[in-house]
Symmetry: C2
Subunit: 242 residues, 2 copies
Amino acid sequence: MGSVTVYGPPISPAVSRVLACLLEKDVVFNLVNIDMSKAQHKSPDFLKIQVASPPPLLLFFPTVSILLLNLPFGQVPAFQDEHTTLFESRAICRYICDKYADRGNRSLLGRRGGGLVERAHVEQWLEAEGQSFNPPSSTLVFQLAFAPQMGLPQDPAAIVLNEGKLAKVLDVYERQLQESRFLAGDEFSLADLSHLPNSHYIRAGGKEELFTSRKHVARWWEEISMRPSWQKVVEMQRTPPA
Amino acid sequence: MGSVTVYGPPISPAVSRVLACLLEKDVVFNLVNIDMSKAQHKSPDFLKIQVASPPPLLLFFPTVSILLLNLPFGQVPAFQDEHTTLFESRAICRYICDKYADRGNRSLLGRRGGGLVERAHVEQWLEAEGQSFNPPSSTLVFQLAFAPQMGLPQDPAAIVLNEGKLAKVLDVYERQLQESRFLAGDEFSLADLSHLPNSHYIRAGGKEELFTSRKHVARWWEEISMRPSWQKVVEMQRTPPA
């Protein structure tokens, strides 16, 4: 029975980022699915989610069945490790890598012994993901994947605008990936991992060409998306909640 | 003579974030101002800035007068520490805190001995800044401070929209700052520091009320903006380039 619990639906890009990280690190965890559409009306600004029904089984049954989670910005995931609760997916991933440094993939924040400079290069590209890649790609994920599912009309102008913005970011990545196998060097890192969720939905939404038209980005995507950790996350996304 | 050099104008919010961090950490550094309007036309996508003229004196004279800097996204600052070059201001700040752990303020990433959980709480609110506070506040900084300076018309709709978005973020902060003196706990941290640049311009641009109308946000802003490190950065911003 693991002490780590993730609260949120695996179809959420931020939740799936944390799941991919836990799987890379071979950390046993519980996943408690949350129907955000039911939870959010309770308190739009400072969300306290009451998990009252037995949560669905994914890896283990949580032993707690009633929990109040603070999600200040109303966004999943919430994360719990013993007495520590956290929000913000990238901060949670850093914590997992630091806390479970000796488990699973030991290079996600730079190789052991790689020193501060390797970690800094990972942080640099993780920030590039958060600041440059995420804004246009999040809009595309919503427009291409979630709006149709929610029965909302797509906004063609927003799609064109953000496709253009994302193309410029991927042009930068193409140059970087011509120099190195992964964004931060020769090892798969948290910087690469953090791109998986949005990229997955953008490709599934019919915009594969953003990736396939760039030789090195295409090669990079093939490699990172075939990792067993991410394949497992995709499988979890396809599994309907119990 | 310090080995650390920051390239970029101190009026840039991202540059000033790094300067505030270096000053908190008592790290001696060189600042090489860059006229971005002249540099950017050379290569809009993958900016290599040639610093050919003797850079302006700020703290020390750089010993190098010709440098090629890679700024993949065309954004300052660039940062150099011996043979390490980095971009992305928040990644640079983390590197400074890790590399110079024993200098100056030792609590910016959680107190020494505070362990991984304290660092995780700082990371959590640093991500909140980057993901929730920065997008609307960056737009406001451009509209309120830089557009008028550049002779560009302001976009009143964008101001109203982003003021509303920022107000919701500050409502979350108000609740958090009712619980703790600073965002991540009882100590000033990188999470607080990272809010200084945009907040400064938004207040100077006539939107102080976003901060003063919220009791705990107002108290927090008074405390973090009066720190000698930030006062020094504001002084550097007012000093015309040599």
